[in-house]
């Protein structure tokens, strides 16, 4: 087990190095040069030289990469000239709000997807299964922003159930106090994942139900309920850990769009606003943080997988 953990940690470290190289590479792909991207195309050669000296862009590439990594280790994600603030500070101010949105949606998605998937697996190829399959195909094929607007049109404008914009409170507590405003954003982000998760849960449960130990459980006279809940469900839940880990990048992308649709002041909106004014230090810094989050998420999912499944021993 220790050996597996060490190996898996090492693999994550290598992936992080590659991620940092890719993002470092993007800085140098900027049209013209980082200096021109920041100072504008009419910047004087003197201003460019000064900017390059200040940011170390006049040094060899490998030195620059080293400095970049050194900054990262010190929590320095870069500096936004447009906001006149360090990217880390901008990120930390928004991070709890996005965590709240993403976390709540993940919980809602998993809580909805598990019973749906189990139902579909048990009633496989029945009318209910076909209808739910159709619904999840439909949901999965909705662009997230379009789903958001349809929900607003339906539940907010027509039925007046929930407000169409997200709470704009400054702290997580202020946002939670205005929970009605959170319903639609969380629902939008959760629904797209429910479609994928319930499909996965369905096939995972079908696989579990086809195992020999299910036949044994039935043969020894256990109630169907016990067979499903204790034997099949628990085993089919394990692969879901991996599925959740793997879907993190698309959930973060979905959060970006959802925050934009509902004007929710999280990291996604920060990213979107930065894109609008081509504030590349913010864009690249946030992308790096997103990727690190994904790598950690996948690591946790994989460790959860081997911990939950007693059959896997290293």
């Amino acid at each position: 087990m220790t050996k597996y953990l060490l190996g898996r940690l090492g693999q994550s470290a290598v992936v992080l190095v590659i991620v940092s190289l890719v993002i470092f590479g993007l800085v140098h792909l900027l049209p013209g040069s980082p200096a021109k991207a920041e100072l504008g195309i009419k910047a004087t050669p003197q201003a460019i030289a000064a900017f390059n000296r200040l940011n170390g862009f006049d040094k060899p590439l490998w030195v620059q990469y080293w400095v970049y990594v050194d900054h990262l280790f010190h929590g320095n994600l870069g500096f936004s000239y447009d906001e006149n603030a360090p990217v880390t500070q901008l990120f930390m101010a928004r991070f709890p709000k996005s965590m709240l949105l993403v976390g709540l949606s993940l919980v809602v998605a998993v809580v909805l997807a598990i019973p749906l998937g189990v139902y579909q697996a048990v009633r496989r190829n029945g009318v209910g299964d076909y209808m739910l399959t159709g619904a999840s195909f439909g949901l999965y094929s909705f662009p997230t922003f379009w789903l958001g607007f349809v929900l607003i049109a339906l539940l907010s404008v027509s039925l007046h159930l929930f407000p169409p914009t997200a709470p704009s409170g400054n702290s997580v507590f202020a946002i939670l106090a205005d929970w009605r405003g959170l319903v639609l954003p969380v629902m939008t982000l959760a629904l797209v994942s429910v479609a994928a998760f319930s499909r996965y849960m369905r096939s995972s449960m079908i696989d579990a139900l086809a195992q020999d130990y299910i036949r044994t459980a039935r043969a020894k006279g256990l109630s169907e309920r016990a067979v499903l809940m204790v034997h099949a469900l628990r085993n089919s839940l394990i692969p879901m850990a991996t599925m959740i880990g793997l879907s993190l990048p698309s959930i973060l992308g979905g959060a970006l769009v959802t925050e934009q649709v509902y004007n929710y002041p999280g990291v996604g909106l920060l990213f979107f606003d930065a894109a609008g004014r081509s504030d590349f230090p913010v864009l690249l810094g946030l992308t790096l943080v997103g990727a690190v989050g994904v790598v950690i998420g996948n690591l946790v999912a994989d460790i959860a997988y081997v911990t939950l499944d007693p059959r896997i021993r290293y």
Binding site: V22, F137, F145, P249, F272, V294
Partner: protein, 305 residues
């Protein structure tokens, strides 16, 4: 549900030998058989063909001006003259749906093709090379996978002014990872088969192994994934358009129509929103259905249920 039983030798699918793609027939015949036995795949394909006809042949029958805005006929509701009304620029919505469908389908299919070809070759080469090269090539894929695709997409679309070929390149850039991983997985198991070993013993080059053995044998997996790639590309293009990073006007795309119209959704201009929104969902569902149904048919394990 049916109880799984042990398969007898005659029921088991024949194992591929001698380098044939499948010993039961050519790939074309296999895919044709897969379609015949799976109605959902036929439905998916039918919808795709219908949408392609609508987008490419439609404008030949239904002539509309989609180039110069005409404010005097803006925001008209559906009528005999404009079957789906006009948008805020005075463009005929039905005609624009056709023209927009053309660019959406073109980009979707092109991205599916580019990403699939590049990903397939990358995955196959990685598996055939093996060792350190394989490790480096796949860690690179892991690295790109960890970066949320939409973030990367926005940065790339922001760096360069979007146009049709560029959007195809940018979308392909984030789409080749899945086929690369899938094909590498397939190729790793194919690599050890006797007929591949035989090519090596006979002095065949690695290129031959990739082209003549690995790619044809993995074609089922590749085809299924390509279908999903097209669906994802159409969705990603719509999202980019919503974020203002899609094709610049006067070029039309479904995502662009949808995001333009959404501003007026609550003012009752439903015809500016729903046609494009429904078109996107229908086409994406069709490609997903096609991929899903093909996978079921090509999956030997599920085929014998």
């Amino acid at each position: 549900m049916s109880i799984p039983r042990q398969l007898t030798a005659s029921e088991l699918p024949p194992s591929p030998e001698g380098g044939e793609a499948r010993s039961s027939g050519s790939t074309v015949r296999l895919v044709a058989a897969a379609f015949a036995e799976n109605r959902l795949a036929v439905v998916g394909l039918g919808v795709i063909v219908a949408m392609a006809l609508f987008s490419f042949a439609g404008p030949l029958l239904y002539h509309t001006n989609q180039v110069s805005p005409n404010p005097s006929i803006a925001d008209l509701p559906p009528s005999g003259a404009h079957l789906l009304g006009t948008d805020s620029q005075g463009y005929d919505v039905l005609g624009r749906l056709m023209v927009g469908g053309r660019s959406s389908l073109e980009i979707g299919l092109a991205v599916g093709a580019v990403a699939t070809v590049f990903g397939t070759l990358y995955g196959a080469v990685s598996a055939v090379m093996g060792g350190a090269t394989d490790a480096v090539m796949m860690r690179l894929v892991d690295g790109f996978y960890s970066i949320p695709a939409l973030f990367l997409l926005i940065i790339l679309a922001d760096m360069f002014t979007p146009n049709l070929p560029l959007l195809i390149v940018v979308l392909s850039f984030i789409s080749w990872l899945a086929p690369a991983r899938l094909v590498r997985g397939e190729a790793l198991s194919l690599r050890t088969r006797e007929y591949v070993q035989a090519v090596k013993v006979a002095g065949g080059r690695r290129g031959r192994v990739v082209w003549r053995h690995i790619v044809p044998n993995a074609i089922g997996t590749i085809a299924v994934n390509a279908s999903f790639q097209v669906a994802d590309a159409v969705l990603a293009l719509a999202t980019l358009s919503f974020l203002g990073l899609g094709l610049p006007p006067p070029a039309a795309s479904w995502g662009g129509m949808l995001s333009d119209g959404i501003t007026y959704l609550y003012d009752g201009y439903w015809w500016q929103v729903y046609p494009a929104g429904i078109a996107i969902v229908v086409v994406v569902v069709a490609f997903n259905l096609l991929g899903d149904a093909l996978r079921d048919s090509l999956d030997v394990r599920l085929r014998r249920r």
